[in-house]
């Protein structure tokens, strides 16, 4: 086994755990550390970390837990992640956590926060309204106030101050993590065959289940190892994967896309955990810096309206910058933001003559043969036409 293989396997093992088990695992290295669950897409994790807690990405439970209660609360036309997240709350699986945060990404997530709260009344559940109007002069002021509200509420809940210095330190750590992620994305793009997206995705998802200090070490090792890896050359189509910003596809789906002849050169997987295009400044007011970075320094996502940064142009730029040949939409079934965005994405890609393919996934998918065949047909049509 190579270093990359070993790292990826460790990460896959970590992803096989339920959130509370992953927290227990983190406590082996950080005795007594508290956990705070972060529902996608984005939350200011630095503030959670500065409170002495480990932010943990809540990305559903895949096939690790059978849904036995949440199905009766959320109807058949609701996405998997909402149901599996609620299942965790209903079964008391979130009890070891100090709290959870949801945000204004869609109607389902908003109602989920309420239903989770009703069923776990003792748990601290925070809801952030992240701004949808980037054009107003009042947006920065509002966002700063919203992040401060989160800090103050969390501070009151944990019973200790969350100081500016602590937030600056957390910004340093997360800036380092995000720098490494950007370097890994660049490496994957420019050195085909040395790091697959299946591998990178497993590692990055695992990084949302560990302390960022540990994640930084892991990512640095991965980057160094990938740089020395011998490329595995193969004919493939360079694609951007779009639509997986919230509920994450099974890793097997990403592997199926790759094995069907696609080299994924950019994506929006786990985008909320690597949202900022550049380091967030630490000097001055760190909460204001973080809020300003959200308003003016973020990548586009399907859960945010930004008149100055249309997502359609964002996708085209993403394709161009990555030197991609095509786009694969991988949207969670019933995900309204992804499925609605597909209409405008499809239109602009057609206008710019960029081929595209749409797939839908669910957490509990276990067979990927049909999707692999679809992707194979798509890639062959591009390679041999």
């Amino acid at each position: 086994m190579t270093v990359v293989d070993e790292t990826v396997q460790q990460c896959r093992d970590l992803l096989d755990l339920l959130p509370a088990q992953a927290l227990a695992k983190a406590r082996e290295r950080h005795p007594g550390i508290g956990g705070f669950a972060v529902f996608p897409v984005y939350a200011p994790v630095e503030i959670i970390h500065a409170a002495g807690l480990m932010p943990l990405g809540l990305f559903g439970v895949g096939s690790k837990l059978e849904i036995t209660h949440a199905d009766s609360r959320f109807q058949s036309f609701i996405c998997s992640i909402a149901k599996s997240t609620l299942e965790l709350f209903l079964r008391g699986e979130m009890t070891p956590f100090a709290g959870a945060v949801f945000s204004s990404i869609c109607d389902v997530a908003r109602n989920l926060a309420s239903v989770a709260k009703r069923n776990a009344p003792d748990m601290y559940i925070e809801y952030l309204h992240l701004p949808q109007n980037a054009a107003s002069e009042a947006t920065r002021t509002y966002t700063r106030a919203e992040f401060r509200r989160f800090r103050d509420n969390l501070s009151a809940r944990v019973g200790r101050p969350i100081t500016d210095d602590a937030i600056r330190s957390s910004l340093d750590v997360f800036n380092r993590v995000r720098r490494l992620v950007r370097a890994l994305y660049e490496h994957r793009r420019s050195h085909p065959g040395t790091l697959s997206t299946g591998e990178l995705f497993a590692v990055l998802q695992a990084c949302t289940r560990m302390m960022p200090e540990d994640a930084a070490v892991l990512l640095e090792d991965l980057l160094n190892s990938a740089r020395t890896r011998k490329p595995l050359a193969r004919d493939s189509v360079r694609v951007v994967v779009e639509g997986s910003f919230c509920e994450q596809p099974p890793i097997e789906l990403i592997e199926a896309i790759e094995s069907a002849g696609c080299q994924i050169v950019d994506d929006d997987l786990l985008v909320g955990w690597r949202l900022f295009k550049a380091d967030v400044p630490t000097a001055g007011d760190p909460v204001a810096n973080l809020a300003d970075a959200y308003v003016a320094g973020s990548m586009y996502t399907s859960v945010r309206y930004d008149s100055g940064q249309p997502r359609t142009e964002g996708l085209v730029q993403r394709v161009r910058a990555a030197g991609a040949d095509a786009v694969v939409f991988a949207a969670a079934k019933f995900c309204e933001p992804a499925l609605l965005d597909y209409v405008l994405f499809r239109k602009i890609l057609d206008e710019r003559n960029i081929p595209h393919l749409k797939l839908e996934f669910e957490e509990k998918m276990w067979t990927f043969d049909r999707l692999r065949t679809e992707v194979e047909t798509f890639t062959e049509s591009m390679l041999f036409d």
């Binding site: 009766s72 109807q75 036309f77 109607d107 389902v108 701004p131 949808q132 359609t312 309204e336 933001p337």
Partner: protein, 440 residues
């Protein structure tokens, strides 16, 4: 937090002698016709604007700021009403399919699809029934789909869009920062209206418009309060549609205020005469969720045959929860508009607040049961309604029925299945009554 503000004045609950069905049926004619008159006037304006180019703006129903548009003589256009009308006239499906051709998924909101399909088919613009808007005001009040819908309208019609981002209510009250954020955006909207129309903002005009709004809101609250009486003078779910048009689309006009004066007088007279919505009122229900517009009459019949009358409904409060006391205030024009958008409508409040609202309805409007109509299209309403059923049945002991279909897409309405469930529910309610009577 319970729904805010004092309830509107209400007549004491009385059991009046029943009148004949003919008298009950007659009331629908009066208020329905009044509503039709004022709404037709507005729709004629829309039709005229397709040709004369009068300034118009798209806007959403929920917690809207239509008064600001009115202040600049900008004609408000509501794509939700367009979608609703297509559905109730049984014309929605071809437009839904048209939208699916360009990429909309079967799981997307069918309101969006019907409206977009209609737009793509030429329904909007010179040869249609709806004007191509001068600009789009996206009042994002709770429903995230609004944002996508209006963004896509703007992209497809190439018109400018103004976003009004309303922070969701996540503490007991909106914070001062929330209010300031909304006020700033309203001021920016006023600037946009000034630029686009060349008219100067006149705050006294806005005060006058808000006076009409407050009058209509008072009428809304009075009418709904009259449904606390036995029998209720109108069905507060199915007949509320007659009041929802005037309160949401025409609010701020003298016509809408006058409509409510007349409607309240009519309902008041019915209460005094003991005339109800049906010839006999056997069950009083609260209904949660939007109706299945493609089968509006069929769905209504399924309740009427059991002599069940809705005495309150949550869907009717999408635009505003006026029955809990809030009124636009001409002395605090922008502040009161901001407060209404933030707090005093159903969409911008949590599910937990909705549970409280329904609980108040059941208790204060003397309902026997809760009926949840879960629609696939609108996840703002539906996501988590299973938990709502759990809460009302298991924690409060209120008989609750949950049925599923859609508010726009006729493919999701299964009449036989719906009838079976509704019949079984009322049979069990009836049996429960017999059993309770026997036990006394």
């Amino acid at each position: 937090m319970p729904p805010t503000g004092p309830a509107a004045p209400v007549s004491p609950t009385v059991s009046a002698p029943r009148k004949v069905a003919a008298a009950a049926r007659d009331y629908r004619g009066v208020v329905h016709d009044l509503s039709k008159d004022v709404m037709t006037g507005w729709m004629n304006q829309l039709q005229d604007a397709t040709r004369n180019g009068a300034p118009s703006a798209y806007m959403m129903i929920s917690g809207n700021c239509v008064e600001i548009l009115r202040c600049f003589d900008i004609l408000p256009v509501f794509p939700e009403i367009n979608a609703l009308q297509l559905a109730i006239r049984k014309k929605a499906l071809p437009y839904i399919l048209k939208a699916e051709e360009i990429g909309y998924a079967s799981d997307n909101c069918a309101y969006v699809k019907a409206d977009m399909g209609y737009t793509l088919s030429g329904g909007v613009g010179e040869n249609g029934t709806i004007p191509r808007p001068t600009f789009i005001v996206c009042n994002f009040v709770g429903c995230n789909v609004y944002i996508k819908w209006f963004e896509q309208c703007a992209a497809m019609m190439d018109v400018p869009i103004v976003m009004i981002d309303i922070p969701f209510v996540r503490e007991n009250q909106p914070s001062p920062e929330d209010v300031r954020y909304v006020m700033s955006q309203l001021e920016e909207l006023i600037g946009t209206c000034e630029r686009l129309t060349g008219k100067k903002f006149d705050i006294d005009r806005l005060r006058e418009i808000l006076g009409y709004s407050a009058r209509a809101e008072e009428g809304w609250a009075l009418a709904k309060s009259l449904c606390r009486n036995r029998p209720a003078p109108f069905d507060c779910y199915f007949d509320s549609i007659n009041m929802m048009g005037p309160i949401n689309a025409l609010r701020g006009t003298k016509d809408a205020a006058d409509f409510f004066d007349a409607a309240v007088a009519h309902y008041q007279k019915m209460v005094e005469e003991g005339v109800g919505a049906l010839d006999e009122e056997k069950f009083r229900i609260v209904v949660e969720g939007p109706p299945p517009y493609p089968y509006y009459r069929n769905f209504r019949n399924l309740f009427e045959r059991w002599k069940a009358v809705a005495v309150q409904s949550t869907y009717s409060t999408v635009g505003g929860t006026w029955e809990f006391g809030f009124r636009h205030d001409p002395d605090r024009p922008l502040e009161s508009i901001a407060e209404q958008m933030l707090l005093h409508n159903l969409c911008n409040r949590t599910m937990i607040e909705r549970y409280r609202q329904i609980k108040t309805y059941v208790e204060s409007w003397h309902a026997d049961a809760l009926v949840i109509h879960s629609v696939k299209s609108c996840r703002l309403f539906s996501a988590g309604q299973g938990d709502m059923r759990e809460y009302f049945t298991k924690e409060l002991g209120i008989p609750t029925l949950m049925v599923e279909s859609d508010l726009e897409d006729p493919r999701y309405y299964a009449e036989a299945q719906m009838k079976n469930r509704i019949d079984a529910f009322f049979e069990s309610l009836e049996y429960k009554r017999v059993r309770e009577a026997a036990a006394v």
